[in-house]
Amino acid sequence: MAGQRYIERIGGRRRLLMLAVLLALVAAGCSTELPQNSLNPAGPEARKIDSLFWLVFWIAAAVFFLVEGALVYTAIRFRRRRNRDHPAKQVHGNLRLEIVWTLIPVVILAAVAVPTVATIFDLQRKPGPDENALIVDVIGHQWWWEFQYPEYGIETANEMHIPIGRTVYLNLLSADVIHSFWVPQLNGKRDAVPGRLNNLILIADEPGVYLGQCAEFCGLAHADMRHKVFAHTEEDFEAWVEAQQQPAPIPTDGPAAAGWETFQVLCTACHVADGATPPLSRQITTTQGSETRIYDVALAPNLTHFGSRTTFGGATFQNVEDHLRRWIRDPSVLKPMRPDLNDIAAGRILGMPAFELEEAEIEALIALLELWR
């Protein structure tokens, strides 16, 4: 598929085929500089998991070398050599040995179990009122993420912005099938299950961009349901929030104004943007324990500040004109979707259809979207 070349290139561009280059990359493969790498924790929650992993990893490594070593040694030492048949002593077993090698694993596992159980409870704590946690409602859709910030009254898609050092408490819910929210450098993954409410804590130490993607198979474009977390300093985050709280400017002349006309006719069937007729709203009900909550969720990404995003289409394509043009012409060429199954009245959207727009209309829409920063 031609469109696949448009998938976002996150790092190096060269395809490495020669062996020498491959070997050089072995180091890169193990490198911790990768942006979606669970071995490079960038926050306290991920670090707790990481230290637990390395604890069990080193124990497993020791067992691995002992057992494999014993296996190879035994196979070589006791193999029958040509013309030299040694008799085998007919040993049936040894009770003492059996007890020893039953108990040793029990002791080792008990040692691993204690920090495991402690960490399970620690990771799933509910932040206290003094922690001033930032609450973000995360809604999984086929195949994009919706992020709502009830504290600030703002909403965005696929790219989450958080302040560093502050506990971010996610409410995870799903609008359709099961998804799983995962930013490996900040925490493990947690599923977004229809009808349920799950939680996850994200804390980032340093400003940076942390990548993730949906981890639970959710249908056709599961691979293209990615997300980014931008961690900012407190001031930068405040500035971002303030910018997001601004309404979208309504253009009155130029190509963007023509785009606005098209937008109001076509796009508002699903997309939200300030000042345009809102699409049919959709509510989903979640329960957690005995608590039931109702959330208003979007049908499609809120485009009010689309121009400020670095990517689109499930954080899969770089937000540049060329990609946008192709997307508006026929989204399914870039990303496999099933708009033929859309049922807007029932709130079920499986992708953006191709609207067979004139090229001028497409350019006008692009101008509009770039205006909405």
Partner: protein, 613 residues
């Protein structure tokens, strides 16, 4: 062959179609499963080719989702399980000293259900698309009729196959309870027979749970029920519980037979009895029991709450203990042995080496917080391929090389066998070891493409190269099997200096197995007929010669019957019709009539027809 082989046994194709001989059924299971193994392997190669480089363009997302769904479904239900069934069918009566299984016609029906179930699942490729919602079919994705188009084939196909597996389980359990030769106490049963006994119980208790779930999936899809629809008060997590309550015991169903085979091969080629035999057997039983108490470790990210997660983390760690006991006892078996490193032995040692890797990565999953990073990533893919390919399949290959001479009367080539082993061993590690890195570097499973720059490029390319090396190993096996079958060296009854009853009879065994039903005096009874032990504990040959026997004049052998295949064909029509309501229901009705016809004819069939006695 002997003179008694008269009326009941037809020859040619019809002989195979109507057979109720456990050996012929075992061979049919094995050959069919190997054919499906090639289908599943081609699916795997397509997956690896697609992922060789970033943004691969070999498969569309839609095709890729079908491939990984069918690769897993095929390998689990149409390859590893039926291969175990093949060995169980062929060997259980031979190892127990019996003339057949307890219910020979039911046995034939199990096979035909497996064959038709496999055809049912695979034919979906040719009628508009195969299942594409994952082999685990998580609701509510799997219940969306429009989007995952062919999950009807999956839900119905697995239930259809499950019927066959339940019948096999009942049959094997009854065989162990009622068909053992005099003196063959339970604790004298060969370890392979023991493991088949254990997995029969696992299947019997676990399959009904998923059967209910699969029916609910079908009902949600086609009958308007809302079992898994949260908006209507259903619960998607219910499906996960039902599936993994079956799915985890199923993992042990896949691995325990291979463990049993390895437990037969190691003593034979080490010329020593199995070390801690009763510990090996009881740890198999323990694994079977504990296997029912660990299912939610597949759900550590579902949101079960910390108490449940802690509980299942602990049970999962605990199950590592009996598994470790088995490995230590295998090491104890070869320690001090006189090791013949023939191909069956190489595959058995390879089994231990690779299974240890899968076992240890399994322990890292038991650490639930770490699992929240590993879950649904390639790290998990690496883990279970070490268990299921490095473990189950290497064990099965050891079994094939070990028992091929018993089944065919001819040995497989040793030279080609060693090439086969090393190619598969290298290919397997090249394919699956890099997946540990991919998973830890953040690559999720079930993704048809990945972007550059995340550190996925190199390891994916290595894995793809490895998968073709692995395929080459399988090709070498096929060549070896073909050559061995056509013109392999004649094996004789006991080519490996075996220890169990199947080696006392000719290769291939006569239709009635044993001229005289053996009387068993010890575990590894055949070895004790051949050897004594001196004061230093070394074996001393007793100069065993096979007693000259002749088949008894009258013996009861099962009659051939075409009702099993007729019944299975009726069931095939029944489930096929259910995929295409409402008009398909006509086919379902016709299928039900054929099924009833088969069952009625079956129940009316005279028991001794044509036996000539």
């Amino acid at each position: 062959m002997t003179a008694v082989e008269t009326a009941p046994h037809r020859s040619g194709i019809w002989g195979w179609v109507t057979t109720t001989d456990h050996k012929k059924i075992g061979i049919m299971y094995g050959v069919t499963a190997i054919l499906f193994f090639l289908v599943g392997g081609i699916e795997a190669l397509l997956i690896r080719t697609q992922l060789a480089v970033p943004d691969g363009g070999v498969l569309s997302a839609d095709a890729y989702n079908q491939m990984f769904t069918m690769h897993a479904t095929t390998m689990v239900f149409l390859v590893v399980m039926p291969l175990a069934a093949a060995f169980a069918n062929y060997l259980l009566p031979l190892q127990l000293g019996a003339r057949d299984v307890a219910f020979p016609r039911l046995n034939a029906l199990s096979y035909w259900v497996f064959l038709f179930g496999g055809i049912f699942l695979t034919m979906s490729f040719f009628v508009g698309g195969s299942p594409d919602g994952g082999w685990f079919g998580y609701a509510p994705l799997s219940t969306q009729v429009g989007e995952v188009v062919r999950m009807d084939y999956w839900a119905l196909g697995l239930n259809f196959l499950g019927v066959g597996s339940i019948m096999s389980s009942v049959n094997f359990i009854a065989t162990v309870f009622t068909m053992r030769a005099p003196g063959m106490t339970l604790m004298r049963m060969p370890v392979f027979s023991w493991m088949i006994f254990v997995i029969s119980f696992l299947l019997l208790f676990s399959l009904p749970m998923v059967a209910v779930g699969l029916f609910q999936v079908y009902a949600d899809r086609r009958m308007g029920s809302v079992f898994f629809d949260a908006a209507s008060g259903g619960d998607p997590v219910l499906w996960q519980h039902l599936f993994w309550l079956f799915g985890h015991p199923e993992v042990y169903v896949l691995i325990l037979p291979a463990m049993g085979m390895v437990s037969e091969v190691l003593p034979t080629f080490a010329r020593k009895p199995l070390f801690g035999r009763s510990f090996v057997i009881f740890s198999g039983i323990a694994i079977g029991f504990m296997g029912f108490g660990v299912w939610a470790h597949h759900m550590f990210t579902t949101g079960l709450g910390p108490v449940a997660e802690a509980a299942f983390a602990l049970t999962t760690m605990l199950i590592a203990v009996p598994t470790g006991v088995k490995i230590f006892n295998w090491l104890g078996t070869i320690w001090g042995g006189s090791l013949r490193l023939n191909t069956p032995m190489l595959f058995s040692l390879g089994f231990i080496a690779l299974f240890v890797v899968g076992g240890l990565s399994g322990v890292t999953h038991a650490v639930a917080p770490a699992d929240t990073q590993q879950h649904d990533t390639y790290y998990v893919v690496a883990h279970f391929h070490y268990v299921l390919f490095g473990g189950a399949m290497f064990g099965i290959f050891a079994g094939i090389y070990y028992w091929f001479p018993k089944v065919t009367g001819r040995l497989l080539g040793e030279r080609l066998g060693k090439w086969n082993f090393w190619t598969m061993f290298v290919g397997m590690n090249l394919t699956f070891a890099p997946m540990h890195m991919l998973g830890l570097n953040g690559m999720p499973r079930r993704t048809y493409r990945y972007p550059e720059g995340l550190g996925f490029d190199l390891w994916n390319l290595v894995a793809t190269v490895g998968s073709f090396v692995l395929a080459l190993g399988v090709l070498l096996f096929l060549i070896n099997a073909w050559r061995g079958w056509r013109r392999g060296e004649t094996a004789g009854p006991d080519p490996w200096d075996g220890r169990t009853l199947e080696w006392t009879i000719p290769s291939p065994p006569p239709v009635h197995n044993f001229d005289e039903i053996p009387v068993v005096h010890a575990e590894d009874d055949f070895w004790h007929r051949k050897y004594g032990v001196d004061e230093e504990g070394h074996a001393v040959a007793l100069g065993y010669e096979a007693p000259a026997t002749s088949p008894p004049a009258d013996m009861h052998l099962p009659s051939p019957s075409y009702y099993p295949i007729l019944t299975a064909a009726g069931m095939f029509l029944t489930v096929t019709g259910l995929v295409y309501p409402p008009w398909g229901l006509l086919l379902t009705g016709a299928g039900a009539v054929v099924t009833l016809w088969g069952l009625f004819g079956w129940s009316m069939e005279p028991l001794t027809r044509g036996s000539g006695s």
